[in-house]
């Protein structure tokens, strides 16, 4: 008996500790709740990457370099905690697509966000298929006239402004010198060696900037763009390339912006709904199941605290749908308790003592609890797979809720019930364990 009481005390203390942890890490900001864009306010942009110029195996590498570039760019503009990720959209989209998802918390001006990313130039290199450059190069003929070169913008290390002193061109013409990284230098050396006398086109955002002839192999990994720039233009180009030239072109296919006020309101309403949800369920449970109902309420409170702590620890990005799932889970968390208590009540009615009835109640209710929770988990897993970030938030919270509630509803309420050690067959304990339909 003493052991059971100590166990119950430990559970209570643990609960208090978890509660304190949740509170203090939110207040001190060490591990606050992570809010999705729909709650914090911000902008999400989804781009489709045009990989038609990239050959098979390089796709993954190009995408990760694309991500790095955009990330650098976004960080440069001082957006706090941006998320830039790549996504492979499978056959469900009709055709495979590589996407880039950019989330910018706090940026609520969609146009500015688009510009912020759109200013990043796309640098491409192509070899002319024929002998001499056609005068008429338009965006529609680029692909037929040129073939992609093995080197891409992702191999670029840095770009700098220089003034051309030498032969041919205008004296003191501003040029941009590209320095490739070690791998780029190797590729570029091979490329120039194998294609001497061919035309090498340097394209920026699909526009040919300069189309020099490869005179000889260039082993040192530098290339010069001399496109008749003004000094300022060349300077800006070099700067943009340094901040990041995109390895592949991207196209905006989806945007979502939510203002901070709308998000704040959703959070406030979510918190209120959660609080009232717990209170209402607690009132119902205590009114109907009396003493066990009260213990189930304790278990429910512990459930909420554990789930909230998990939100902070994992961390789970909370969306409005996630909050809805949490509130829904408050109603469902007591499900196992209701099953157990109804069963216990039946056993009591069958003439068992309270302690026996409790034991039997837990034991008999278990298969039902297990089976029904499995079906909820199935839904959660499929939803998680199905999900946009909004739905994923729902599925994760829902799934977590099902698992944690199984734990708290069963172990915690059993610990409390047994710790009370009610073994009397008397009328009062029967009243305490009775329920609304029986007195």
């Amino acid at each position: 008996m003493l052991k059971r009481r100590i166990a119950a005390l430990v559970v209570l203390l643990l609960g208090a500790a978890v509660g304190w942890y949740v509170y203090s890490s939110q207040m001190s900001g060490s591990r606050p709740f992570k809010l999705g864009l729909d709650l914090s306010g911000g902008t999400q942009l989804v781009y489709r990457a045009d990989l038609s110029a990239i050959v098979g195996a390089d796709v993954a590498e190009s995408m990760s370099s694309l991500r790095d570039t955009i990330e650098r760019r976004v960080n440069l503009f001082g957006v706090s905690e941006p998320i830039v990720q790549t996504q492979h959209a499978g056959t469900l989209a009709g055709q495979p697509e590589e996407r880039l998802i950019v989330e910018l918390p706090g940026v609520t001006d969609t146009q500015r966000a688009i510009e912020l990313i759109g200013e990043t130039p796309v640098l491409e290199f192509r070899l002319l298929k024929g002998d001499s450059p056609n005068v008429e190069i338009s965006s529609s003929t680029v692909n037929t006239l040129f073939e992609p070169a093995a080197i891409t913008g992702k191999d670029l290390k840095s770009a700098q402004l220089q003034f051309n002193q030498s032969i041919g061109g205008v004296p003191n013409e501003p040029v941009v010198v590209l320095n490739f990284n070690s791998e780029g230098a190797r590729i570029f050396a091979d490329l120039t060696k194998n294609n001497v006398n061919r035309y090498f086109g340097i394209f920026l955002d699909g526009v040919p900037i300069s189309i020099p002839v490869i005179r000889e192999a260039i082993p040192d990994g530098t290339a010069v763009i001399s496109g008749g720039f003004l000094a300022d233009e060349a300077k800006e180009l070099a700067r943009n390339l340094n901040f990041g030239a995109l390895p592949v072109p991207i196209e905006l296919i989806s945007t979502q912006t939510v203002s901070a006020t709308l998000g704040d309101e959703a959070v406030q309403r979510g918190i209120m709904a959660g609080l009232w949800g717990v209170i209402a369920v607690a009132v119902f449970m205590i009114a109907w199941y009396r003493l066990p109902g009260f213990l189930a309420t304790l278990a429910l409170a512990l459930y909420c605290l554990v789930v909230l702590a998990l939100f902070q620890l994992i961390p789970v990005t909370l969306t409005a749908a996630g909050i809805a799932a949490f509130i829904l889970s408050i109603g469902m968390a007591v499900d196992a308790n209701i099953l157990i208590f109804e069963r216990t009540r039946e056993e009591l009615a069958g003439g068992k003592t309270a302690a026996e009835a409790i034991k039997e109640g837990f034991h008999r209710a278990w298969p039902s609890i297990r089976d029904s929770n499995i079906s909820s988990m199935i839904t959660a897993v499929i939803l998680f797979w199905f999900g946009t970030s909004l739905i994923k938030g729902f599925a994760l919270v829902f799934g977590l809720g099902v698992l944690v509630s199984m734990l708290t509803a069963i172990t915690v309420s059993r610990t409390f019930l047994l710790a009370l050690g009610i073994d009397a067959k008397g009328g009062f304990s029967r009243f305490l364990f009775g329920s609304g339909t029986h007195t």
């Binding site: 989209a93 203002s259 949800g277 909050i323 199935i378």
Partner: protein
């Protein structure tokens, strides 16, 4: 048990409800949201008063917007739905909707979905719905694999599936009506609500069937002969209160979510309310009576 005995009455009621839902679905139809079709949604809030719809519409027409819909929302908001924006339109939209210095409207929400994403989401929604149904069917067949007398385990699964169909048709039909009433559109949240209803409703059905299973086993162990209808009715009676109570606690939280929760999950809460009510109803008034009816039918044929 009253419900099992009078099952034909409840079959009729259930059939009627389902029929009404189906009629509503076919008459009003479902309106897919831009998440599935692609397009643009813009919400503008005006701090003091909103301009007349005509004023906003004129500005939009002048900027070359076509086939858009402009609706009043909240007290001082507009919601604009349009096709995908061109770059120029996107750049000017904030200015266009602000209503100038007099109204100072600000965009509180802007969502644009490209057509490929819409198609992908649509396909994913359908596949996940089918997947959930299949998984649940397999799961039930598995859970009831040991029960084969007097009816085999796959019939439990099939009946559970029929009740699930009912639980989906009712909220879908209701939502079609809601769409007719105030233009509610089905989005990924709606699909989520439906899938959640499926998971929850099967929950209830499993508990009842589980009790039938247990009582059959006890009867078998004690060599007690009992009419199947009797066993099923007794099982239903034993789980009745539990079914209603677990649904009640969920319905309580959903009502709270509907009334004081975030605006963006209001339709979601309503769909769940209807779906879970339907699920609770069907697990009590449809699943077990159907089980008995099938047993009677199989018994007669033998």
């Amino acid at each position: 048990m009253f419900i099992v005995k009078n099952r034909n009455i409840f079959f009729t009621i259930t059939a009627l409800i389902t029929l009404i839902a189906l009629v509503s679905l076919f008459v009003f139809g479902l309106k897919p949201s831009l998440e599935f079709t692609g397009g643009t949604l813009v919400q503008v809030s005006y701090p003091t008063e909103r301009p007349a719809p005509v004023v906003v519409a004129e500005a939009l027409d002048a900027a070359g917007f076509e086939g858009y819909s402009l609706r009043e929302a909240n007290e001082r908001d507009y919601i604009l739905r349009a096709a995908n924006l061109t770059e120029i339109q996107r750049a000017s939209i904030a200015e266009l909707l602000s209503g100038g210095d007099r109204y100072r409207g600000e965009i509180t929400q802007l969502t644009e979905v490209g057509p490929t994403i819409g198609k992908e989401l649509r396909n994913k929604a359908i596949i996940s719905l089918v997947l959930v149904l299949i998984c649940i069917l397999l799961f039930i067949a598995f859970a009831f694999r040991h029960v084969s007398k007097p009816i085999s385990s796959w019939i439990y699964g099939l009946i559970a599936l029929i009740t699930l169909l009912h639980d989906v048709i009712v909220p879908v039909g209701f939502f079609a009506f809601l769409g007719y009433l105030h233009g509610a559109q089905i989005d990924t949240l709606f699909v989520t609500a439906i899938l959640t209803v499926l998971g929850f409703s099967i929950h209830d059905t499993i508990v009842v069937f589980d009790r039938v299973r247990e009582n059959l086993r006890i009867n078998h162990e004690r060599n007690r002969k009992e009419d199947f209808a009797e066993t099923a009715g007794r099982s239903l009676g034993q789980t009745f209160v539990r079914s209603i109570n677990t649904s009640l606690t969920v319905l309580i939280t959903l009502l709270i979510l509907y009334f004081i929760g975030p605006a963006s999950t209001r339709d979601f809460a309503l769909t769940l309310l209807v779906g879970i009510t339907a699920g609770t109803y069907s697990s009590i008034f449809l699943a077990t009576p159907l089980l008995v009816a099938v047993e009677r039918y199989v018994g007669k044929r033998k």
